[in-house]
Amino acid sequence: MTVEASSDELKRTPLHAVHTAAGAKMVPYAGWHMPIEYTGVVSEHVAVRTSAGLFDVSHMGEIEVTGPDALALVQRVTTNNAAKLALNQAQYSALIYPEGTFVDDLLVYRFAENHFFLCVNASNAEKDYEYIRSHARGNVEVRNTSDQYAQIALQGPRAISILQKMTAFDLQSVKYYWFRRLDLAGEQVIAARTGYTGEDGFEIFSKPAKAASLWNRIREIGGDHVTLAGLGARDTLRLEAKMVLYGNDIDQTTTVLEADLEWIIKWDKGDFIGRSALWNQKENGLDRKLAGFEILDRGIARHGYDAFIEDKKVGAVTSGTYAPYLKKAIGLLYLPDEYAAVDQEFEIDVRGKRLKARVVPTPFYRRKK
Protein backbone atom coordinates (compact mmCIF):
# COMPACT_ATOMS: atom_id res chain seq x y z
CA MET A 1 0.00 0.00 0.00
CA THR A 2 1.16 3.53 -0.64
CA VAL A 3 0.41 6.59 1.41
CA GLU A 4 0.31 9.91 -0.38
CA ALA A 5 2.27 12.59 1.39
CA SER A 6 0.85 16.06 1.74
CA SER A 7 2.74 18.81 0.00
CA ASP A 8 3.32 22.36 1.12
CA GLU A 9 2.66 23.48 -2.44
CA LEU A 10 -0.97 22.41 -2.29
CA LYS A 11 -3.56 25.15 -1.92
CA ARG A 12 -5.68 25.24 1.20
CA THR A 13 -9.30 26.25 1.51
CA PRO A 14 -10.39 28.62 4.31
CA LEU A 15 -11.71 25.51 6.08
CA HIS A 16 -8.42 23.59 6.08
CA ALA A 17 -7.81 23.96 9.81
CA VAL A 18 -11.43 23.06 10.54
CA HIS A 19 -11.00 19.79 8.62
CA THR A 20 -7.79 18.75 10.33
CA ALA A 21 -9.29 19.60 13.73
CA ALA A 22 -12.23 17.34 12.83
CA GLY A 23 -9.83 14.48 12.11
CA ALA A 24 -10.33 14.42 8.34
CA LYS A 25 -8.09 12.29 6.17
CA MET A 26 -6.54 14.89 3.86
CA VAL A 27 -5.30 14.16 0.32
CA PRO A 28 -3.96 16.11 -2.66
CA TYR A 29 -6.80 16.78 -5.11
CA ALA A 30 -6.61 19.02 -8.18
CA GLY A 31 -3.81 21.04 -6.60
CA TRP A 32 -5.62 21.38 -3.27
CA HIS A 33 -5.20 19.68 0.09
CA MET A 34 -8.73 18.39 0.62
CA PRO A 35 -10.63 16.10 3.03
CA ILE A 36 -11.33 12.74 1.37
CA GLU A 37 -13.23 11.43 4.38
CA TYR A 38 -13.87 12.13 8.05
CA THR A 39 -15.39 8.95 9.49
CA GLY A 40 -15.71 6.80 6.36
CA VAL A 41 -17.05 7.07 2.82
CA VAL A 42 -19.92 4.63 3.36
CA SER A 43 -21.40 6.31 6.45
CA GLU A 44 -20.93 9.78 4.95
CA HIS A 45 -22.60 8.69 1.71
CA VAL A 46 -25.58 7.13 3.47
CA ALA A 47 -25.94 10.20 5.72
CA VAL A 48 -26.35 12.40 2.63
CA ARG A 49 -29.03 10.08 1.23
CA THR A 50 -30.95 9.86 4.52
CA SER A 51 -30.24 13.07 6.47
CA ALA A 52 -27.69 15.74 5.49
CA GLY A 53 -24.02 15.97 4.64
CA LEU A 54 -21.78 19.05 4.82
CA PHE A 55 -19.11 19.45 2.12
CA ASP A 56 -16.32 21.95 1.62
CA VAL A 57 -16.18 22.60 -2.11
CA SER A 58 -14.16 25.80 -1.93
CA HIS A 59 -11.65 24.33 -4.37
CA MET A 60 -14.14 24.86 -7.20
CA GLY A 61 -13.29 27.73 -9.54
CA GLU A 62 -15.34 30.86 -10.20
CA ILE A 63 -15.20 32.96 -13.35
CA GLU A 64 -17.28 36.09 -13.84
CA VAL A 65 -18.30 37.52 -17.19
CA THR A 66 -19.65 41.06 -17.14
CA GLY A 67 -20.53 43.85 -19.53
CA PRO A 68 -22.93 44.57 -22.41
CA ASP A 69 -21.50 41.67 -24.47
CA ALA A 70 -21.39 39.18 -21.59
CA LEU A 71 -24.38 37.16 -22.78
CA ALA A 72 -22.99 36.92 -26.31
CA LEU A 73 -19.70 35.53 -24.97
CA VAL A 74 -21.34 32.97 -22.70
CA GLN A 75 -23.60 31.91 -25.57
CA ARG A 76 -20.61 31.48 -27.88
CA VAL A 77 -18.50 29.31 -25.58
CA THR A 78 -21.21 27.14 -23.95
CA THR A 79 -23.79 24.71 -25.33
CA ASN A 80 -26.80 25.47 -23.16
CA ASN A 81 -28.97 28.55 -23.70
CA ALA A 82 -27.88 31.22 -21.23
CA ALA A 83 -30.37 33.67 -22.77
CA LYS A 84 -33.16 31.61 -21.20
CA LEU A 85 -31.80 32.23 -17.71
CA ALA A 86 -33.81 34.60 -15.56
CA LEU A 87 -31.99 36.62 -12.91
CA ASN A 88 -31.24 34.29 -9.97
CA GLN A 89 -31.43 31.18 -12.13
CA ALA A 90 -28.69 28.63 -12.89
CA GLN A 91 -28.11 26.00 -15.54
CA TYR A 92 -25.76 23.09 -16.14
CA SER A 93 -23.74 23.53 -19.32
CA ALA A 94 -20.60 22.62 -21.23
CA LEU A 95 -17.67 24.84 -22.11
CA ILE A 96 -16.89 23.64 -25.59
CA TYR A 97 -14.10 23.21 -28.15
CA PRO A 98 -14.76 23.54 -31.90
CA GLU A 99 -14.64 19.72 -32.11
CA GLY A 100 -17.67 19.46 -29.81
CA THR A 101 -15.54 18.15 -26.95
CA PHE A 102 -15.33 19.46 -23.40
CA VAL A 103 -13.12 22.25 -22.18
CA ASP A 104 -15.07 21.69 -18.95
CA ASP A 105 -18.54 21.19 -17.56
CA LEU A 106 -19.90 23.97 -15.43
CA LEU A 107 -22.82 25.76 -13.81
CA VAL A 108 -23.83 29.11 -15.29
CA TYR A 109 -25.53 31.49 -12.84
CA ARG A 110 -27.15 34.73 -13.97
CA PHE A 111 -26.34 37.32 -11.34
CA ALA A 112 -27.67 40.26 -13.38
CA GLU A 113 -28.70 41.08 -16.94
CA ASN A 114 -25.04 41.56 -17.90
CA HIS A 115 -23.33 39.51 -15.22
CA PHE A 116 -22.79 35.76 -15.47
CA PHE A 117 -21.08 33.72 -12.75
CA LEU A 118 -19.53 30.42 -13.84
CA CYS A 119 -18.68 27.69 -11.36
CA VAL A 120 -16.03 25.42 -12.90
CA ASN A 121 -13.87 22.47 -11.93
CA ALA A 122 -10.91 23.30 -9.69
CA SER A 123 -8.33 21.72 -11.96
CA ASN A 124 -9.66 23.58 -15.01
CA ALA A 125 -10.24 27.07 -13.62
CA GLU A 126 -7.15 28.68 -15.12
CA LYS A 127 -7.57 26.89 -18.48
CA ASP A 128 -11.26 27.82 -18.64
CA TYR A 129 -10.50 31.44 -17.82
CA GLU A 130 -7.90 31.70 -20.60
CA TYR A 131 -10.22 29.96 -23.06
CA ILE A 132 -13.19 32.19 -22.34
CA ARG A 133 -11.02 35.31 -22.41
CA SER A 134 -9.56 34.31 -25.77
CA HIS A 135 -13.08 34.36 -27.24
CA ALA A 136 -14.11 37.71 -25.72
CA ARG A 137 -15.34 40.25 -28.28
CA GLY A 138 -16.65 43.76 -27.77
CA ASN A 139 -17.47 45.22 -24.39
CA VAL A 140 -17.04 42.36 -21.95
CA GLU A 141 -14.81 41.64 -18.99
CA VAL A 142 -13.76 38.13 -17.89
CA ARG A 143 -12.34 37.70 -14.39
CA ASN A 144 -11.10 34.66 -12.51
CA THR A 145 -12.57 35.34 -9.06
CA SER A 146 -11.85 31.92 -7.56
CA ASP A 147 -9.98 33.47 -4.62
CA GLN A 148 -12.96 35.58 -3.65
CA TYR A 149 -15.32 32.72 -2.83
CA ALA A 150 -15.52 29.88 -0.40
CA GLN A 151 -18.15 27.26 -1.21
CA ILE A 152 -19.99 24.99 1.20
CA ALA A 153 -22.63 22.44 0.20
CA LEU A 154 -25.30 21.05 2.50
CA GLN A 155 -26.98 18.15 0.74
CA GLY A 156 -29.65 15.66 1.73
CA PRO A 157 -33.33 15.44 2.67
CA ARG A 158 -32.81 17.44 5.89
CA ALA A 159 -30.64 20.15 4.31
CA ILE A 160 -33.41 22.71 3.72
CA SER A 161 -34.92 22.46 7.20
CA ILE A 162 -31.51 22.86 8.83
CA LEU A 163 -30.58 25.91 6.76
CA GLN A 164 -34.04 27.40 7.29
CA LYS A 165 -33.19 27.82 10.98
CA MET A 166 -30.37 30.16 9.96
CA THR A 167 -32.31 32.59 7.77
CA ALA A 168 -35.56 34.54 7.65
CA PHE A 169 -35.70 33.98 3.87
CA ASP A 170 -38.19 31.29 2.81
CA LEU A 171 -35.81 28.71 1.33
CA GLN A 172 -38.61 26.57 -0.08
CA SER A 173 -39.44 29.49 -2.37
CA VAL A 174 -36.06 28.99 -4.06
CA LYS A 175 -36.75 26.43 -6.77
CA TYR A 176 -34.31 23.75 -7.94
CA TYR A 177 -31.55 25.39 -9.99
CA TRP A 178 -32.40 28.88 -8.72
CA PHE A 179 -30.44 30.92 -6.19
CA ARG A 180 -30.76 33.98 -3.97
CA ARG A 181 -28.51 36.41 -2.18
CA LEU A 182 -29.58 36.15 1.40
CA ASP A 183 -28.50 36.47 5.00
CA LEU A 184 -27.45 33.13 6.51
CA ALA A 185 -26.47 33.17 10.19
CA GLY A 186 -25.71 36.87 9.88
CA GLU A 187 -23.54 36.53 6.77
CA GLN A 188 -24.38 37.66 3.25
CA VAL A 189 -24.16 34.62 0.98
CA ILE A 190 -25.30 33.36 -2.40
CA ALA A 191 -27.41 30.28 -1.73
CA ALA A 192 -28.07 28.10 -4.78
CA ARG A 193 -30.43 25.14 -4.78
CA THR A 194 -27.96 23.05 -6.74
CA GLY A 195 -25.65 20.18 -5.92
CA TYR A 196 -23.62 17.24 -7.09
CA THR A 197 -25.07 14.41 -5.03
CA GLY A 198 -28.51 13.66 -6.45
CA GLU A 199 -30.11 15.09 -3.30
CA ASP A 200 -31.96 18.28 -2.51
CA GLY A 201 -29.85 20.95 -0.83
CA PHE A 202 -27.94 24.17 -1.26
CA GLU A 203 -24.52 25.22 -2.44
CA ILE A 204 -23.50 28.33 -0.53
CA PHE A 205 -20.95 30.84 -1.79
CA SER A 206 -19.50 33.10 0.90
CA LYS A 207 -16.52 35.32 1.52
CA PRO A 208 -13.55 33.12 2.43
CA ALA A 209 -13.21 34.80 5.84
CA LYS A 210 -16.80 33.81 6.73
CA ALA A 211 -16.61 30.16 5.68
CA ALA A 212 -15.46 28.69 8.99
CA SER A 213 -18.11 30.46 11.07
CA LEU A 214 -20.83 29.37 8.62
CA TRP A 215 -19.54 25.80 8.65
CA ASN A 216 -19.50 25.70 12.44
CA ARG A 217 -22.95 27.29 12.68
CA ILE A 218 -24.42 24.67 10.33
CA ARG A 219 -22.89 21.94 12.49
CA GLU A 220 -24.29 23.53 15.67
CA ILE A 221 -27.79 23.96 14.26
CA GLY A 222 -27.85 20.59 12.53
CA GLY A 223 -26.38 18.61 15.41
CA ASP A 224 -26.55 14.87 14.82
CA HIS A 225 -28.48 15.39 11.59
CA VAL A 226 -25.41 16.83 9.87
CA THR A 227 -22.52 14.57 8.91
CA LEU A 228 -19.23 15.96 7.61
CA ALA A 229 -18.68 14.52 4.15
CA GLY A 230 -15.49 14.43 2.08
CA LEU A 231 -14.55 14.09 -1.57
CA GLY A 232 -14.79 10.30 -1.33
CA ALA A 233 -18.52 10.42 -0.61
CA ARG A 234 -18.96 13.23 -3.13
CA ASP A 235 -17.57 10.92 -5.81
CA THR A 236 -19.75 7.91 -4.95
CA LEU A 237 -22.85 10.11 -4.58
CA ARG A 238 -22.36 11.82 -7.94
CA LEU A 239 -21.79 8.49 -9.65
CA GLU A 240 -24.98 6.94 -8.22
CA ALA A 241 -26.78 10.01 -9.57
CA LYS A 242 -24.92 9.63 -12.90
CA MET A 243 -23.34 13.05 -12.78
CA VAL A 244 -20.24 12.96 -14.95
CA LEU A 245 -16.80 13.90 -13.66
CA TYR A 246 -14.36 15.89 -15.78
CA GLY A 247 -11.09 13.99 -16.15
CA ASN A 248 -12.85 10.63 -15.73
CA ASP A 249 -16.03 10.51 -17.79
CA ILE A 250 -15.59 13.61 -19.93
CA ASP A 251 -12.60 15.53 -21.25
CA GLN A 252 -11.19 17.17 -24.38
CA THR A 253 -11.55 13.88 -26.30
CA THR A 254 -15.24 13.19 -25.60
CA THR A 255 -18.12 15.09 -27.17
CA VAL A 256 -21.21 16.33 -25.38
CA LEU A 257 -23.35 13.93 -27.43
CA GLU A 258 -21.15 10.93 -26.63
CA ALA A 259 -21.44 11.83 -22.95
CA ASP A 260 -25.22 11.42 -23.29
CA LEU A 261 -25.77 15.09 -22.47
CA GLU A 262 -27.72 16.27 -25.52
CA TRP A 263 -30.15 17.97 -23.12
CA ILE A 264 -27.54 20.68 -22.46
CA ILE A 265 -27.15 21.38 -26.20
CA LYS A 266 -29.68 23.96 -27.36
CA TRP A 267 -29.56 23.62 -31.14
CA ASP A 268 -31.95 26.51 -31.74
CA LYS A 269 -30.14 29.16 -29.67
CA GLY A 270 -27.99 30.40 -32.57
CA ASP A 271 -24.42 29.56 -33.48
CA PHE A 272 -21.87 28.56 -30.87
CA ILE A 273 -18.40 27.01 -30.83
CA GLY A 274 -18.66 23.31 -31.61
CA ARG A 275 -22.19 23.46 -32.98
CA SER A 276 -21.37 22.28 -36.48
CA ALA A 277 -19.17 19.42 -35.24
CA LEU A 278 -21.88 18.28 -32.85
CA TRP A 279 -24.59 18.63 -35.50
CA ASN A 280 -22.53 16.53 -37.90
CA GLN A 281 -22.13 13.89 -35.25
CA LYS A 282 -25.84 13.89 -34.58
CA GLU A 283 -26.64 13.57 -38.28
CA ASN A 284 -24.14 10.80 -38.89
CA GLY A 285 -24.79 8.88 -35.72
CA LEU A 286 -22.55 8.33 -32.73
CA ASP A 287 -19.76 5.79 -32.71
CA ARG A 288 -19.96 5.44 -28.95
CA LYS A 289 -22.03 6.54 -26.03
CA LEU A 290 -21.61 6.78 -22.26
CA ALA A 291 -23.52 3.95 -20.61
CA GLY A 292 -24.12 2.95 -17.02
CA PHE A 293 -23.39 -0.59 -15.91
CA GLU A 294 -23.61 -2.80 -12.89
CA ILE A 295 -21.39 -5.77 -12.10
CA LEU A 296 -23.21 -9.07 -11.97
CA ASP A 297 -20.32 -11.03 -10.42
CA ARG A 298 -18.58 -10.12 -7.19
CA GLY A 299 -15.98 -7.40 -7.52
CA ILE A 300 -15.46 -3.75 -8.34
CA ALA A 301 -14.48 -2.28 -11.71
CA ARG A 302 -12.43 0.89 -11.52
CA HIS A 303 -11.35 3.70 -13.83
CA GLY A 304 -9.28 2.36 -16.73
CA TYR A 305 -10.33 -1.30 -16.58
CA ASP A 306 -11.01 -2.74 -20.04
CA ALA A 307 -14.38 -4.05 -21.19
CA PHE A 308 -14.82 -6.94 -23.62
CA ILE A 309 -17.47 -8.70 -25.63
CA GLU A 310 -16.02 -12.10 -26.34
CA ASP A 311 -12.44 -11.24 -27.29
CA LYS A 312 -13.10 -7.80 -28.66
CA LYS A 313 -12.20 -4.84 -26.50
CA VAL A 314 -15.23 -2.56 -26.57
CA GLY A 315 -14.27 0.16 -24.10
CA ALA A 316 -12.78 1.05 -20.75
CA VAL A 317 -14.39 2.03 -17.48
CA THR A 318 -14.39 5.81 -16.95
CA SER A 319 -15.82 5.74 -13.41
CA GLY A 320 -16.42 2.69 -11.27
CA THR A 321 -17.03 2.10 -7.61
CA TYR A 322 -18.99 0.29 -4.98
CA ALA A 323 -22.22 2.26 -4.59
CA PRO A 324 -22.78 2.54 -0.83
CA TYR A 325 -26.52 3.26 -0.94
CA LEU A 326 -27.43 0.79 -3.68
CA LYS A 327 -24.97 -1.75 -2.25
CA LYS A 328 -23.64 -2.92 -5.58
CA ALA A 329 -20.73 -2.22 -7.90
CA ILE A 330 -21.61 0.27 -10.64
CA GLY A 331 -19.83 2.39 -13.19
CA LEU A 332 -19.79 4.27 -16.47
CA LEU A 333 -18.02 3.53 -19.73
CA TYR A 334 -18.17 4.44 -23.39
CA LEU A 335 -19.56 1.60 -25.48
CA PRO A 336 -19.90 1.34 -29.27
CA ASP A 337 -23.43 2.44 -30.10
CA GLU A 338 -24.53 -1.07 -31.09
CA TYR A 339 -23.68 -2.36 -27.60
CA ALA A 340 -24.91 0.57 -25.52
CA ALA A 341 -28.54 -0.55 -25.09
CA VAL A 342 -29.91 -1.46 -21.66
CA ASP A 343 -29.45 -5.16 -20.75
CA GLN A 344 -26.46 -5.62 -23.05
CA GLU A 345 -24.06 -7.93 -21.24
CA PHE A 346 -20.30 -7.66 -21.43
CA GLU A 347 -17.22 -8.45 -19.39
CA ILE A 348 -14.74 -6.29 -17.52
CA ASP A 349 -11.17 -7.36 -16.92
CA VAL A 350 -10.67 -6.83 -13.19
CA ARG A 351 -6.96 -7.40 -12.64
CA GLY A 352 -6.83 -10.48 -14.83
CA LYS A 353 -10.26 -11.84 -14.05
CA ARG A 354 -13.28 -11.35 -16.32
CA LEU A 355 -16.37 -10.19 -14.42
CA LYS A 356 -19.84 -10.12 -15.97
CA ALA A 357 -21.46 -6.71 -16.27
CA ARG A 358 -24.69 -5.39 -17.75
CA VAL A 359 -25.82 -2.04 -19.13
CA VAL A 360 -28.53 -0.62 -16.86
CA PRO A 361 -30.82 2.41 -17.01
CA THR A 362 -29.42 5.58 -15.45
CA PRO A 363 -29.33 7.40 -13.13
CA PHE A 364 -28.56 4.44 -10.93
CA TYR A 365 -30.22 6.32 -8.07
CA ARG A 366 -33.01 8.87 -8.24
CA ARG A 367 -34.31 10.54 -5.10
CA LYS A 368 -38.00 10.38 -4.29
CA LYS A 369 -39.58 13.80 -4.65
Binding site: M1, V3, K25, I36, E37, G40, V41, V42, S43, H45, G232, D235, T236, R298, G299, I300, R302, T321, Y322, P324, A329, R351
Partner: protein, 128 residues
Protein backbone atom coordinates in the same frame (compact mmCIF):
# COMPACT_ATOMS: atom_id res chain seq x y z
CA UNK B 1 -2.59 -1.95 19.47
CA UNK B 2 -0.23 -4.31 17.60
CA UNK B 3 -0.09 -7.67 19.45
CA UNK B 4 3.40 -8.62 20.57
CA UNK B 5 2.93 -12.31 19.69
CA UNK B 6 2.20 -11.53 16.01
CA UNK B 7 4.77 -10.92 13.26
CA UNK B 8 4.32 -8.25 10.58
CA UNK B 9 5.34 -7.48 7.00
CA UNK B 10 6.36 -4.15 5.52
CA UNK B 11 3.29 -4.51 3.30
CA UNK B 12 1.04 -4.40 6.38
CA UNK B 13 0.04 -8.04 6.78
CA UNK B 14 0.15 -9.77 10.16
CA UNK B 15 0.81 -13.45 10.88
CA UNK B 16 0.05 -15.32 14.09
CA UNK B 17 1.79 -18.65 14.54
CA UNK B 18 -0.19 -21.56 15.93
CA UNK B 19 1.94 -24.72 15.88
CA UNK B 20 2.75 -25.66 12.28
CA UNK B 21 -0.12 -23.49 11.08
CA UNK B 22 -0.64 -19.76 11.19
CA UNK B 23 -3.38 -17.16 10.72
CA UNK B 24 -2.90 -14.21 8.35
CA UNK B 25 -4.65 -10.84 8.13
CA UNK B 26 -4.01 -7.16 7.42
CA UNK B 27 -3.13 -4.67 10.12
CA UNK B 28 -5.18 -1.93 11.75
CA UNK B 29 -2.93 0.56 9.98
CA UNK B 30 -3.71 -1.05 6.60
CA UNK B 31 -7.47 -1.02 7.09
CA UNK B 32 -7.36 2.61 8.22
CA UNK B 33 -5.48 3.58 5.08
CA UNK B 34 -8.00 1.77 2.90
CA UNK B 35 -11.12 3.10 4.61
CA UNK B 36 -14.46 1.27 4.42
CA UNK B 37 -13.74 -2.20 3.11
CA UNK B 38 -16.51 -3.52 0.88
CA UNK B 39 -15.03 -6.50 -0.92
CA UNK B 40 -12.47 -9.22 -0.23
CA UNK B 41 -11.10 -11.76 -2.65
CA UNK B 42 -9.41 -14.82 -1.11
CA UNK B 43 -7.91 -17.98 -2.61
CA UNK B 44 -9.18 -21.55 -2.46
CA UNK B 45 -7.75 -23.82 0.26
CA UNK B 46 -4.98 -26.03 -1.08
CA UNK B 47 -3.28 -23.29 -3.07
CA UNK B 48 0.41 -22.62 -2.53
CA UNK B 49 2.13 -19.23 -2.63
CA UNK B 50 5.73 -18.15 -2.39
CA UNK B 51 6.61 -15.47 0.14
CA UNK B 52 5.89 -11.99 -1.23
CA UNK B 53 3.41 -13.13 -3.91
CA UNK B 54 -0.12 -11.71 -3.96
CA UNK B 55 -2.76 -14.20 -2.81
CA UNK B 56 -5.85 -11.98 -2.74
CA UNK B 57 -7.16 -8.45 -2.57
CA UNK B 58 -9.02 -6.16 -0.25
CA UNK B 59 -11.12 -3.37 -1.73
CA UNK B 60 -12.50 -0.27 -0.11
CA UNK B 61 -14.87 2.12 -1.80
CA UNK B 62 -11.94 4.15 -3.05
CA UNK B 63 -9.07 1.74 -3.55
CA UNK B 64 -7.94 -1.81 -4.08
CA UNK B 65 -4.95 -3.32 -2.31
CA UNK B 66 -3.31 -6.64 -2.99
CA UNK B 67 -2.44 -8.83 -0.05
CA UNK B 68 0.90 -10.64 -0.11
CA UNK B 69 1.93 -13.98 1.33
CA UNK B 70 4.05 -13.15 4.40
CA UNK B 71 5.88 -16.52 4.05
CA UNK B 72 5.87 -19.44 1.62
CA UNK B 73 2.57 -21.03 2.44
CA UNK B 74 -0.27 -23.38 1.62
CA UNK B 75 -3.76 -22.04 2.20
CA UNK B 76 -5.61 -24.30 4.66
CA UNK B 77 -8.80 -22.37 5.36
CA UNK B 78 -10.51 -19.11 4.42
CA UNK B 79 -12.50 -16.81 6.70
CA UNK B 80 -15.94 -16.96 5.10
CA UNK B 81 -17.33 -14.49 7.62
CA UNK B 82 -15.04 -11.83 6.23
CA UNK B 83 -16.03 -12.67 2.65
CA UNK B 84 -19.69 -12.18 3.61
CA UNK B 85 -19.03 -9.16 5.85
CA UNK B 86 -15.87 -7.38 4.68
CA UNK B 87 -16.45 -4.61 7.23
CA UNK B 88 -15.21 -7.09 9.86
CA UNK B 89 -11.71 -6.07 8.77
CA UNK B 90 -12.44 -2.45 9.70
CA UNK B 91 -14.04 -3.50 12.96
CA UNK B 92 -11.52 -6.06 14.15
CA UNK B 93 -8.53 -6.34 11.82
CA UNK B 94 -6.33 -8.33 14.20
CA UNK B 95 -8.84 -10.96 15.26
CA UNK B 96 -12.32 -11.55 13.77
CA UNK B 97 -11.15 -9.90 10.54
CA UNK B 98 -8.51 -12.57 9.85
CA UNK B 99 -8.28 -13.64 6.21
CA UNK B 100 -6.75 -17.11 5.82
CA UNK B 101 -5.24 -19.98 7.79
CA UNK B 102 -2.06 -21.34 6.31
CA UNK B 103 0.58 -24.04 6.65
CA UNK B 104 4.02 -22.44 6.79
CA UNK B 105 6.11 -24.14 4.09
CA UNK B 106 9.43 -22.75 5.20
CA UNK B 107 9.91 -21.83 8.86
CA UNK B 108 13.03 -19.83 7.99
CA UNK B 109 10.81 -17.23 6.24
CA UNK B 110 9.50 -16.15 9.64
CA UNK B 111 12.89 -14.76 10.61
CA UNK B 112 12.64 -12.01 8.01
CA UNK B 113 9.41 -10.58 9.44
CA UNK B 114 8.99 -7.59 11.75
CA UNK B 115 8.25 -7.64 15.46
CA UNK B 116 5.43 -5.46 16.81
CA UNK B 117 7.98 -2.82 17.88
CA UNK B 118 9.64 -2.80 14.47
CA UNK B 119 6.27 -2.56 12.72
CA UNK B 120 5.14 0.33 14.89
CA UNK B 121 8.41 2.08 14.11
CA UNK B 122 7.78 1.54 10.38
CA UNK B 123 4.28 2.99 10.37
CA UNK B 124 5.26 5.95 12.52
CA UNK B 125 7.73 6.87 9.73
CA UNK B 126 5.04 6.35 7.09
CA UNK B 127 2.83 8.86 8.81
CA UNK B 128 5.43 11.64 8.59
Amino acid sequence: MYPKEYLYTKEHEWIKKDGSQAVVGITIYAQKQLGDIVFVELPQPGKNYEAGKPFGSVESVKAVSEIYAPVSMEVVAVNNDVVQRPELINEDAHDKGWLIKIKVNNEADLEGLLSAEEYEELISQDQH
